[in-house]
Symmetry: C2
Subunit: 290 residues, 2 copies
């Protein structure tokens, strides 16, 4: 059993991008614009982490913070300005948004060329057609992990659990494409799936993104399985100073002994998301000629 060390893979990836960045003769750094609406302590923590990572690796990160009361039209206008602003390479919108603003409208207003979260229908559609596209960050990060550990995927049975637009659905598409990583026989499981263990017991690769703490247990997997755990849940734990611990969608203690590779929580998939966000921003910056 080998632990997939997302923290060190993400650092490796970011250091590599940082090196490439320095070798480019451009008179400005890649610039990520982060849009946030209203006050959300959790979102603020994420946004700060993103901006800090930007700075650490030679990127510029700017927070565009709007009040809860901003109208949808005004927000779309602001996004349009960032689309047109040649010194911005990537635009992301920190979710959630207030209820009076349509998330889809916002995502579709971001220029597909600057959509470094990979959520725009154009990028999802190109991804599905196996054309060059900005990949959603978490699925993109999982591909990077599989590549880094040279995990074989062709002809394997990959079971994806959870069909969110952000992780599960794109992941199921990516693992089935004619590519590496990819070329898996992919089974997409979700809340309507009956007899989940039938699928997981036959899986060579499990990608758990159901958002359910410790859904996948040792008796549900076969020997040698590769396990990617996207879940992250905070549960009370008196033995910890903080009073809580983080767990995933996989019951680590029972699944790990049967796995050939497994991601821990935290330190598995989590750190990869921000690395791919910066990778995407680096790529759009490379393509920009301004």
């Amino acid at each position: 059993m080998k632990i997939i060390d997302g923290k060190s893979v993400s650092e490796h990836l970011l250091a590599d991008i940082s090196l490439k960045l320095q070798s480019q003769k451009k008179n400005r750094s890649p610039h990520l614009a982060i849009i946030m609406v209203g006050k959300h302590p959790a979102s603020e923590t994420y946004v700060n982490a993103k901006i800090k990572t930007c700075e650490k690796y030679g990127f510029k990160g700017t927070l565009y913070h709007f009040p809860e009361t901003i109208t949808e039209k005004k927000l779309l206008d602001e996004i349009q300005k960032l689309n047109d602003y040649h010194e911005v390479d990537g635009i992301i919108v920190q979710l959630p948004l207030p209820k009076h603003i349509s998330e889809n409208q916002v995502i579709e207003t971001i220029s597909p060329q600057k959509d470094v979260d990979g959520f725009h229908p154009v990028n999802i559609g190109k991804m599905a057609k196996n054309l060059p596209a900005l990949l959603p960050a978490t699925p993109g990060g999982i591909l990077e992990l599989l590549k880094f550990y040279q995990i074989e995927t062709a002809g394997k049975h990959c079971v994806v659990i959870g069909r969110s637009n952000i992780v599960g659905f794109p992941m199921s598409i990516l693992m089935g494409r004619n590519s590496y990583p990819g070329n898996c026989t992919v089974t997409m499981c979700h809340s309507k799936t009956q007899n989940l263990e039938f699928y997981t017991q036959n899986a060579d690769i499990i990608i758990a993104a159901a958002g359910q703490p410790e859904l996948i247990k040792g008796n549900m997997v076969k020997e040698g399985v590769v396990v990617i755990d996207v879940g992250i849940h905070r549960v009370p734990d008196k033995t910890k100073k903080s009073g809580f611990k983080l767990i995933g969608d996989v019951e680590f203690d029972t699944v790990a002994p049967k796995s050939s590779f497994i991601t821990p929580v935290p330190g598995g998939v989590g750190p990869m998301t921000i690395a791919v966000l910066l990778k995407n921003t680096f790529e759009t910056w490379l393509q920009s000629n301004k």
Copy 2:
């Protein structure tokens, strides 16, 4: 065992659209523009069939036929003109195109609002995100068949065989969405799949779009399976006056007795494709205010 009669379902669907069309107070009919480049006897047959069906149901169908030597730029300009022409509601490009013209470039030039073949990345992406979109015609036709026969799909195991951009891949996405038809646990099988019969034997619904004659045989399916056969192959048959017969990706004689529902070849999925093409054109026409 019940035969799914695609011919009569398609006629039903088209007659219904034709009725709705007549009840609309618009001063022009829905108009489908078909682009064809070069000479292809098979394509000409398909195009003629489409135009005839248009006329039969109160649509206008126009063939825009360009010589094999047309440049890519000129073709893209012509598509742009049709995008801008308010009396055209739907645009399709008959494939194949000459080698010097990029199929992707052509598809991406068609306005997503007039992309009645549903191949534009915007439509594929919206479909994947379960947003309103123009669906690719053959997958859309299969959904219509499942609806017409009120076939239960939620929680069923649907195995899709073949991952083409036109049928298999979109089909696997559609069957997994939170929708009806949909909500299946979906397994996407393809040329790299090992042990295909393991998946088909466990399938409640099989959608065969592999392009391999009689790939699916009776011993590969379970009792009560629903079988949708997208394949169509011409094989020699001395007992027929024409000297050939049409077969699908499914060995009908051995699979049909075990099925609860099955599409024949011909007369199953085939007739639905053109019906959905017209349905899509009708919808874009409804949304046009000119």
